[in-house]
């Protein structure tokens, strides 16, 4: 018995190249080696190329004078500021358009998504035409369409269209009156935050009471009213410390007020209309995923339709909706980089465009730009995963 066993085990000892563990080790070593060699090859080539073109490496260029102006800046900027500052100007502009775009796209997407499920045949048909049209046309084309075919045809500043009192629309953009805060406006701000804090407590209290007693209190409407009333009273009590600066036509252009440049409007319109088509589909599938029995059960319990939606359907639909919605938000942020095609000064346009052309520091600039988007993506998906985990159905 024994010798046979020995023979068997001697035979079964696999050859070196047949042992899966050793083979995978060898494979991984080879892989690391190949990647390192490839990286060295590229770095070597790059160094040679940079040297022969006389480009210095490093991030020293960031402190040099930029020497160009930017159309829209949220922080002070002119030609005397540094290249490093152009990075932040572009980044803030990207964040501005992404933030506004996410909000608009979400609102529009939810409306269209719900409309697609409407019992009204015409409304649901119109919603599907919307989705099928805008989702199947490239975003860049839509940006061009809004910018070159629609907004460029608006009248000159002299013949502006006055939409509301003080709101002017012309080829240079949309002009709003700008609020000028006077003494005592700080009290209104304080009142606003105070009422927000109170609302949070009220909503918590309402939820707790509902969990314990089942009694319903319209906490959201109440807190909305609270904010309005408290802020309004403080505003009046502190002597209405707010005046408006109206845009005025001086020479060939408007001065004063808040100007929304057409590049921003075109980009925002295209981004939110395009993304809303995708969000609408996500919302629709989320609502359809909620079992019909849930709605029936809640109406059997006597819940009114609005509260059925808010307390039963939407929380369950959100579980299905949030993960794909996250991807759409990320897509919107990344797609905002198409701004460069119409000259909206976002990160890619200002930094990876103008700054790169002026300095020639391709590697540093592109790496920084990519790192920004990568960080944004990772942050948003971390946040959304956390939120998703909190909302997810807890099962066995």
């Amino acid at each position: 018995m024994m010798p046979e066993d020995n023979k068997y085990s001697a035979n079964s000892k696999p050859k070196f190249w047949n042992d899966p563990e050793k083979r995978s080790l060898l494979f991984q070593v080879l892989m690391v080696g190949t990647v390192i060699l490839f990286a060295l090859y590229i770095i070597n080539n790059t160094m040679n190329n940079l040297e022969s073109r006389g480009i210095s490496t490093g991030f020293g260029f960031l402190s040099q004078n930029a020497g160009f102006d930017i159309l829209l800046t949220l922080i002070p900027f002119d030609a005397t500021y540094s290249f490093g500052r152009t990075f932040f100007v572009g980044l803030l502009n990207t964040m501005l358009v992404s933030f506004l775009g996410v909000i608009l796209a979400t609102i529009l997407g939810f409306i269209i998504g719900v409309a697609r499920l409407s019992h009204n045949w015409l409304i649901s048909r119109m919603a599907s035409v919307y989705v099928e049209t805008f989702r199947n046309i490239p975003l860049l084309l839509q940006i061009f369409f809004w910018y070159f075919a629609v907004l460029q045809l608006l009248p000159s500043p002299r013949e502006s269209i006055e939409l509301f009192d003080g709101v002017q629309l012309n080829v240079r953009g949309l002009y709003f009156p700008a609020p000028i805060t006077g003494d005592g406006f700080g009290w209104v701000v304080i009142a606003f935050f105070a009422s927000l804090v109170m609302s949070v407590f009220m909503i918590r209290w309402a939820k707790k009471r509902q969990d314990e007693t089942g009694q319903f209190f319209p906490a959201y409407w109440a807190s909305f009213g609270l904010v309005i009333v408290l802020c309004g009273l403080t505003y009046l009590a502190s002597g209405s410390p707010l005046t408006w600066e109206y845009p005025e036509l001086k020479g060939f252009n408007f001065k004063g007020g808040i100007n929304v440049i057409p590049e921003l409007s075109a980009l925002l319109l295209a981004l939110s209309i395009y993304t809303a088509a995708f969000i609408a589909e996500i919302v629709r599938s989320g609502i359809e995923a909620v079992d019909k029995g849930q709605t029936e059960a809640s109406s059997a319990l006597g819940l009114p339709r609005s509260r059925t939606l808010r307390l039963v359907v939407i929380p369950q639909a959100m579980r299905v909706v949030i993960p794909p919605l996250t991807s759409q938000y990320l897509n919107l942020i990344k797609n905002s980089s198409l701004a460069t095609a119409i000259g909206y000064p976002d990160l890619v346009s200002v930094f990876a465009g103008t700054t790169l052309n002026q300095t020639g520091q391709a590697i540093e600039v592109i790496a920084m730009t990519m790192a920004v988007y990568l960080t944004l993506s990772l942050l948003v998906s971390l946040f959304m995963n956390w939120y998703n985990k909190r909302m997810a159905l807890v099962e066995r």
């Binding site: 892989m31 790059t46 199947n136 061009f144 070159f148 980089s337 988007y373 990568l374």
Partner: protein, 365 residues
């Protein structure tokens, strides 16, 4: 006892719940909210669709050879009909356009054969489309062999370039995507982390920055004496970007294969590559065909971004033609034409993907 066994004849349903009137009552006016919405919708449609049709068809100009032929106040489609060759073929030499036409014909035949289910030997046709056809296509387009005149890639453009970018992008991204997906699920920690990092990096950045990288950084990476075609650079960028997305689609398919399939393959003593190639991948890929089609749609739309690095796809050709001073005020017509082209392609693909999804849906989950 008065008893009548005879069944009374069925009365027709009340007129208010059948026929067009019943349909209207049920679908458009079943509550006052819906009635109000219907009226608003009808008003909206009447005020937009009518003028739109009038602009696009009834008072539009179709024939002619210059802007002067556009005399009515509708759309000036003359712009499109005059420039159509440029929009489709770019700046390809006119004498050589027959090569593109042959290619378009072959491509259409292959696609038709692959989509229609009764075609015999679809597997072999698919293999041909993925391997031999690209080689034929390259020699037909580029020439410089078999007595064909050489056409440099900077003369390629229009719809033909859009298709080249999209098809090459997807065909090349497929094998890379499969490898990356397998790597991400591998038990080897080094391979797994390499693949995960590659996928997450390319998925986390916008395509534009990848294209910028391809156009300004790639030339620095290679030895100075080597020349590097602009189109090829863009293609490499697109393929890297796309294979990351493809990898995630395929990973989804791999995850959907029950563990028993892996175990059965291992019990049979199959090696890793045989297990994957013969058992897992065929099933996984079949499941994710809709996902692949969706990725393809996204890529097809995204090819328009090459405009930013100076390649002339169909959108860029039209965009350039619009700025021609001989054709003032034709931007809307141009954009509508491009939108229509993209829409037809994307819409039919999305319908195709939906039909596959329905067909593959076996009912059990």
């Amino acid at each position: 006892m008065l008893h009548n066994d005879q069944k009374l004849p069925d009365l027709p349903a009340p007129i208010s719940s059948t026929g067009p009137i019943g349909w209207l009552r049920e679908n458009l006016f079943d509550s006052w909210v819906n009635s109000v919405m219907t009226v608003i919708a009808v008003y909206f449609i009447a005020t937009t669709i009518g003028p739109l049709l009038n602009w696009a068809f009834f008072s539009a100009d179709f024939l002619g050879d210059s802007k002067d032929s556009c005399t009515s106040d509708g759309a000036c489609w003359v712009f499109v009909t005059v420039r159509i060759n440029q929009f489709i073929y770019g700046f390809y030499p006119e004498a050589e356009i027959w090569r593109i036409n042959i290619l378009f014909g072959m491509f259409a035949l292959l696609i038709a054969a692959l989509v229609i289910e009764r075609t015999p030997h679809r597997g072999w046709i698919a293999l041909f489309t993925l391997t031999i056809f690209p080689i034929i296509a390259f020699y037909l387009l580029y020439g410089d062999a078999f007595g064909l005149e050489k056409v440099e890639t900077h003369k390629w453009g229009g719809l033909m370039l859009t298709l080249v970018l999209a098809v090459v992008g997807i065909v090349a991204a497929l094998p890379f995507g499969i490898l990356l997906a397998l790597g991400r699920r591998s038990h080897m920690p080094v391979a797994r982390s390499f693949c995960t990092i590659f996928i997450e990096v390319w998925r986390g950045v916008p395509l534009i920055s990848v294209l910028f990288m391809a156009s300004v950084m790639f030339p620095l990476f290679i030895p100075e004496e080597m020349s590097f075609d602009k189109l090829l650079r863009a293609l490499i960028g697109i393929v890297m970007f796309q294979s990351a997305y493809m990898a995630e689609v395929i990973r989804g398919g791999l995850q959907a294969i029950p563990k028993g399939q892996y175990e059965a393959g291992e019990a049979m003593g199959l090696s890793y590559w045989k297990l994957m190639g013969l058992i897992i991948l065929p099933q996984a890929l079949k499941i994710v065909i809709p996902g692949i089609v969706n990725t393809f749609i996204a890529l097809f739309k995204d090819t328009s971004l090459v405009l930013i690095i100076g390649l002339f796809d169909v959108l860029a050709t039209v965009q350039a033609a619009i700025t021609d001073p001989a054709w003032p005020r034709v931007s809307t017509e141009g954009y509508v034409f491009v939108a229509f082209v993209f829409w037809v392609f994307c819409f039919s693909m999305s319908r195709y993907s939906q039909s596959i999804e329905r067909k593959l849906n076996t009912g059990h989950r």
